[in-house]
Amino acid sequence: MMWNTFEQDKPYLESKYLNPTFDPNTGLSAEELLAGLEKIYADTRALPHPTVKAMAVAYVLDHVRINVSPHDWFVGIDGWRFLRDRMVHKTIIMKWQEEVYQKYASEERRRMKIHNACGSLSIWPDYDHSVPDWKAVLKLGFPGLRQRAKDCRERHREAGTLTAEREIYYDAIETEYAAILRFLARLQAQAEEKGRQYPRCAMTAKCLKTLMEGAPTNSYEMLQLDYLFFFIAEYFDGLQVRSFGNLDQMLYPFYQKDLQEGVFTDSQIRELVSYFLQQAHVMHHYWGHPLYLGGSDETGKTLINPVSYLILEEFDRMGLYDPKIQIKWDKALPEAFVNQVLDMIRRGHNSIAIVCMPNVIKAMMSFGVTEREAQECVVSGCYEVQVAGNSTQTAAGHINMAKGVEMVLNNGRDALTGQMIGVETGGLEEFTSFDAFYEAYLKQIRFLTQEALTISGSVEGHFLELNPAPMFSSTVYNSVQQGRDAYAGGCKYMFTSILVCNVASAVNALMAVKELVYDTGEYTLTQLNEILEKDWEGHDRLRLRMKRSHEKFGNHQALSDRYGAAIASFVANQINMKPSQNNGYYITSLHCARQFIEMGKRSAASPEGRKRGEEYSKNISAAMGTNWAGTTALIESVTELNTTQFLGDFPLDVMLHPSAAQGEEGLAAMKQLIQTYSDRGGLAIHFNVMDVEVLRDAQKHPEKYEDLQVRVCGWNVLWNNLPLSEQEQYIAQAQLL
């Protein structure tokens, strides 16, 4: 039986990656693969890295175990527990990283280690925020992408411009694509053999045959290609593919054609979509597997189509939180679609994020992107945007804005380790006014920003040695035409994002210093610093007082809003449009990923009542438990910032009580909240709709809440997987609702 089988196939799908069984005759074990990759690294020290990378990827594709199952429409690939750590990355790329740092940036690496350990900065080489040109992938398929690269190579040869570098580039693409086609042939042979017994495997064999020969011709082939390209690029080639693409637009032409020609029915395509979504769900990695829906064409007409609804409905029915879905929000979105999205969010589908397109377009255009490119932008990762098919984006480093206060209090040193991580701004007795303290804070932040740019920049110019990208590059026409790796100048737009973290905590700490030392004069800076050094020991009353001190960012108070906007802009002005080492530009993000937790762990107590090691504020949101004036005030505060300065990302986390989202009134209120956020310039917004009683009950009875999920930052986790301390933070926030 081929159709209506999802529920009976679910046990296989659930175990497909987590507890797989593969025929050992189909390839090597994961341990053998790792050993083989180690050998490739050792044997190829003299070869150019694009050549080695392609050899490594080809090696994995040729030897990884495979399984075409009658219980699945999508092929199975072994070694998941190893693959998810990206074995090529682990065995080869990370060693190249070491080499590149030693060769070009040993001093920067030394400083990077200190900053990372102290939580002042968080930096590592990043290649993980780009999206292939899905249009090209679907139009050309694997063979077409290979042929296009061959054609471009030939043109260079004829023109006498086929340099040694270009030869290496094209050879690497050829090696990878030849291996991909061999890989498809292996899968196809197995599918054909099993197809004698199982009709679905026969269908899979036919699908793979088409993909071996060219572009997809129907919905099934399109989804299989999307899945295969994503999987190989993400987990073998080792460059995260930060989106499955705008799946509704990608699938719709095939859907229409299949219905017209009777290839598949609506319900069959629906079932294929649910198997597809299930792949991402079971592959789950904490950063999630995104796809996005919606958008408008150049005339302003919505691109929402029947497949947009179909995907939402299947996602809803399956109760998934990965893939995570982003919605391109604008006024052209059909009301029915908006209502469906918001209804899902309020029922707990909080992995859905909203991206406000009018402001995204404005922000992108202010960085030199054309209007059309901005309209057609890709939404990727958590909520990031980029030009489709002709851009790379890397998240090069994170700056801890709250650390600046600690650095002023310790004359440029980290309070916990004593390491020098900033500049000497003088003894505390020298700061006779808050303005003087604030100026010193800005000096520390300026220094950290410069450090982030210098350290990340020290390796950004060496991407070809760090992690060449043959597979990704092959999709980017600009790259293939030039014969230049996409990460090494082959894209029109190469944006390097610096993530500015913990802004609300920084403002709250500054306001606390102002109040305690300069407004009331109750403590000297030295006394305050001594209290912080002791982690508030013996000063619990003062700590509680500072925690509830009402000047906290996110409550639409003039002073804290002004400082929030000022420090965020201060950093953005130093970062934006600064040329990067890989011929692109720096952009600023206010997204902090996990760094609000990690940097908090490495930082001393701070004046706003935060204890040593506690987390900071998340993204652009208020610090946990301080949004006393509620959601509307929070939106008003954050949109006081000059949002177009933050092309990298500008995400707001909103927590709502279920009563604020229930009924028609609740739906209308959510809509109005998003629209006002968008009207005021906000870029991205997502919701957690939750009740403190439910969260408490979930702590007591985890078995009853196996599906309860919360959106942490740009991704979702199951409530039961959160550490107790993080659960308590959510409860503290929910108590204010």
Binding site: R545, A629, G630, T632, A633, A669, Q672, Q675
Partner: protein, 300 residues
Amino acid sequence: MKYKAMLMDVKRFAIHDGPGIRTTLFLKGCPLKCVWCHNPEGIWPKPQMAYYLHKCIDCGECVSVCPTGAQTMTEEGRHSFDRERCIACGACAEVCLGEAMLRYGRTVDLEQALAIALEDAAFYGSTGGVTVSGGEPLLQAEFVAELLTALKARGIHTAVDTCGCVPWEKVEKVLPCTDMFLYDIKHMDPRQHRQLTGRSNERILSNLIRLSELGARIEVRFPMVPGCNDDMEQIAQMGVFLSGLHIERVKVLAYHSMARAKYAALGAEDTMPRVDTPTSDEMRAAVEQLRQMGVNAVSG
């Protein structure tokens, strides 16, 4: 700016006090004393202190700022609050580290109230706006009229949430500046009404009739309290009465006892019925009963 108001509380992002996203200003003082009242801090027209014992961490910060000696510490280091001595100045609430002391009631003038009401104007859109509630806001009708007139002049939708138990002149004062009335009906029987709220319902019903005759936009709210006003005969009578008026809809609100802690905090006698929240079936039955009488009823 002749008048001032005694403001009890403000709720921003209110979505159940009229259409759209609203800001609700709760004014202090109410002529009724409903046994189930979930805003008991709104009854007394002057400021008063609430003491949430479970939040007190015995920090003693309040003791040094209290001007009357109402706040003291025992020899064992436990905090003690003498309500008799308290003048509700609110100094203790300013310094209370556990947020156990809370002051309900502050005087605001028109400018201050307008600033509060306009803070979220960006969110009101075409449907939302400002609601004045209570307590009973029409006890301060002159101030409400000034506030709502100023809001209407700025194109903001206005609503008054009233129990209706005020002289008609008070209602009349706000008529020109009120886009919508949220009007409570608690019981149709005057004797029962008096028993449950301390006052008869005659004035309430006659004011509602007059409002309806004048074409005001009205949403009636019926707080359904098991054992007090949930018998079907009573609800049917209400349906008959309301069906003869121009009522946009009737919202049936389910009683809950979540406000019980407030009574203890205020040092007030807890009058809240010890009954369960109506079940969804019971709510549905009440709504259906009203609908059968030709009333557009919904469950709130």
